[in-house]
Amino acid sequence: MNILKSRETILGIAILVLLAIIASRFPAFIRPQNLANVFTDTSPLILLALGQMVVILTKCIDLSVAANLALCGMIAALMDGAGVPVPVIVLAVIALGAALGAVNGLLVWTLGIPSIVVTLGTMTIFRGTIFLLTDGAWINAHQMSDAFKALPRTLILGLPIMAWIAIAVIIAFAFLLSRTALGRAFYAVGGNPHAAVYTGISVGRTQFWAFVFAGALAGLTGYLWVARYAVAYVDIAGGFELDVVAACVIGGIAIAGGAGTVAGCVMGALFLGIIKNALPVVGISPFWQMAISGSAILIAIAFNARSNRAPGRIILKQAEHRS
C-alpha cells in the first residue's frame, strides 16, 4: 500500500501514461532508439537537477546553476581554442564549477546570507563575466577542435558518452545520499537543522558542500552542453535554472528541505524531457513548452503538499517549540 502511495510510483505512472498517450498517436516515439535519444537529450537536465536536489535538501536553492553552466562552457570553449587537451578541459571545468559553487556556499555558510539572494546575485555576476571574457562574441563550431566536439557524442554500447555520464552520476548520487555520512547529513540538515546541530553536524558546512556538488555538476554539464551543441555564447541555457528547479519539484523534492530521492529527481527531469521532445512530434508549437512546465510545477507542488500533510509524530512537543 505504501509503495502505491509513494511519490515516485505516482510519478512513474504519470510518465508511463504520458508515454502511452504519445505512443497512441505516434508509435515511433517509444522505439528504444528514440527513448535513448530522449534520455541523452535530458542528460544535462538530470545532471543539474541532481546537483540542485542536494542543495534543496539542505533548505537552500541555487538559481545560479545555469549561469555557472554557461560560464564553464564558455571557458571550456576558450581553453579548447588555446589548444588545451580535452581531458584537462573536463577536469578544469569541473574544478571551476565547484569553485563557483563554493563561492555561493561560502557566502551562505560564513555570512549566513539567504541562498536565494546569494544565487540571484551570482547568477547575474557569472553571466556578466562571460560577456567580460568574450565581449559578447560567439564561439562557433568551426572554432572548436574535433576532439572537443566528439567526446559527448562518442557511442559506447549504443549510448553516447553524455548519457553514460548521466547514468554514472545518478548511481554515484544514489550511493552518496544513502551510504555516506555527508549524504545523510544533507537530509539531516534539511529535515531539522537544530537536531542536526545537536548530533554534531555543521549546518553551514553541509550546505557549503551541497553548493560545491551543484557547482561541479554545472561545470561538467557546461562542457557537455557546449561540445554537444557546438556553440558557446553569453545566453546559453538562459532560464534553464527554472527547468532544473521544476524537475526537482516535480520529482517530489520538498522545497522546505529534508525529503526527496534520486529516483524521484531523475524521473522529474525525464518527465520534462519527454514533454519537450514530444511537443514537436505531436505537432504542438515549442512555444507551449514554458506554460506546460509552469503548470507541471504547480500541479506537482499541490500534489506534494497533499502527501506531506501526514506529519511525523512530535515526541517532545516542548523541545520542538523551543527550537
Partner: protein, 335 residues
C-alpha cells in the same frame, strides 16, 4: 528555506537599556547610509560626465527605475510579511499581451488600461490563492506561475509582436505632466506615498510586520494572516499591472520577452532598501532611496558607455555586497 541557523540558540534582536537620541538613531539607520551613497553617486556622476546634470537627461534617467520601483513597493510589503513573488516580470508580460489582444479587438485607451489592471489583479489573485488558501511555499508557486504566465504570452505571440497601440495610450510611458516631470515619475511618487502610509501609518501595515516577525503569534493575536497575505499578492499583481501599462506604453510594443529579469531587479531594489529578506523589517523610504541609487548607477554607467550586462554584474555585486557588508562588519566587531 532560509531559517537554517548555525546554532540552536534563539538570538532575538537585542533590546538596549535606554532609547538612543532620535537624531543619532536616524543617522545610524540604513536609510541614512543609503542616502549618503545616493548623494555620493550623484556627485561622482556629475563629475564623470558633463551630460549628467542636464534636467532632460535626468528626467530620462528616471525611466531606469520607475516601473521597477512601483512593483518594489508592493514587493517590499510582501517580503516583510515573509513571502516573495518571483512572477512579477511574467505578470507584466501577460498583462501586456492581454492589452495587445484588446488593442487588436479595437479597444481604446481606457479599456486597455482596465485590461492591464484586471490581468495584474487576476495573476496576483492566482498567486495569492495558491499561497494563502492552499498554504504552498510562495517561492516555488511563483517560480511556477512565472513560467505559466510568460508561457501563455509565448503561446499567444510566439516570435511575433503586438504593435500599433493607440496614440493616446502613449501618454502613460512617454508623456510629461509638466516640464521634465514624467507621468511615470508622478505615478511612482503617488505609489510611494500610498504604500508609505499603508505600511507605516495603518493597522494593516502593523499586521504585515507582525506576520513577518512571527506568523503564529500574529494568528493568535487575531490577525487574519491568510487574508492579509492574499491582499499583498493582489497588491503586487496590481502594481505589476500598472507597470505593464507604463512599460507597454513606453515601448509601444509587446513581445513575450518583455520585462524579462524584472523580478531580479525588483528584489534587488527591495533588499538594497534595507528590507530583510527573512521578513519582519524594512521601510518604504528605504526602498525609495534604493530605487534612486539603482537609477543613478545605471544612468551614470550608461553615460560612460558601460554595456547593460556589465551593469547587471554591478547590480549583482551590489545585492550581495549590501547584505554581506553589515554582516562582515558585525562579525569583525564581535572578535
Amino acid at each position: 528555506m532560509s531559517d537554517a541557523t548555525e546554532a540552536p540558540t534563539h538570538t532575538g534582536r537585542q533590546i538596549p537599556d535606554r532609547l538612543q537620541n532620535p537624531l543619532t538613531r536616524a543617522l545610524q539607520s540604513w536609510e541614512a547610509l543609503l542616502l549618503v551613497v545616493a548623494v555620493a553617486i550623484f556627485i561622482a556622476n556629475s563629475m564623470a560626465s558633463p551630460y549628467f546634470l542636464d534636467p532632460w537627461n535626468l528626467s530620462d534617467a528616471t525611466f531606469n527605475f520607475t516601473e521597477k520601483a512601483m512593483i518594489a513597493f508592493a514587493m517590499a510589503l510582501l517580503i516583510i510579511s515573509g513571502e516573495i513573488d518571483l512572477s512579477v516580470g511574467a505578470i507584466i508580460a501577460l498583462a501586456s499581451t492581454a492589452m495587445g489582444l484588446a488593442m487588436q479587438a479595437g479597444a481604446g485607451t481606457p479599456v486597455l488600461v482596465l485590461v492591464g489592471l484586471a490581468t495584474g489583479l487576476l495573476c496576483g489573485a492566482f498567486n495569492g490563492l495558491l499561497v494563502a488558501r492552499f498554504g504552498l511555499p510562495s517561492i516555488v508557486v511563483t517560480i511556477g506561475t512565472m513560467s505559466l504566465f510568460r508561457g501563455i504570452s509565448y503561446i499567444v505571440l510566439g516570435d511575433s509582436a503586438f504593435t500599433g497601440y493607440p496614440s493616446g495610450f502613449a501618454w502613460f510611458g512617454q508623456g510629461y505632466v509638466f516640464w521634465v516631470i514624467t507621468v511615470e515619475l508622478v505615478i511612482f511618487t503617488i505609489a510611494a506615498i500610498i504604500f508609505g502610509i499603508l505600511l507605516h501609518r495603518t493597522n494593516f501595515g502593523r499586521m504585515v510586520y507582525a506576520i513577518g516577525n512571527n506568523a503564529t503569534a500574529a494568528r493568535f493575536s487575531g490577525i487574519r494572516v491568510e487574508r492579509i497575505k492574499f491582499t499583498l499578492f493582489l497588491l503586487t499583481g496590481l502594481m505589476s499591472g500598472i507597470a505593464a501599462i507604463c512599460l507597454t506604453s513606453r515601448l509601444g510594443s509587446t513581445r513575450p520577452s518583455i520585462a524579462a529579469g524584472f523580478e531580479l531587479e525588483v528584489v534587488t531594489i527591495v533588499v538594497l532598501g534595507g528590507v530583510s529578506i527573512l521578513g519582519g523589517s524594512g521601510s518604504i523610504p528605504g526602498v525609495v532611496i534604493a530605487a534612486l541609487v539603482m537609477g543613478l548607477v545605471t544612468f551614470g554607467l550608461g553615460l560612460l558607455n558601460v554595456p547593460g550586462i556589465v551593469m547587471s554584474i554591478i547590480m549583482g555585486l551590489l545585492l550581495i555586497g549590501v547584505i554581506a557588508l553589515p554582516r562582515l562588519w558585525s562579525m569583525a566587531r564581535r572578535r
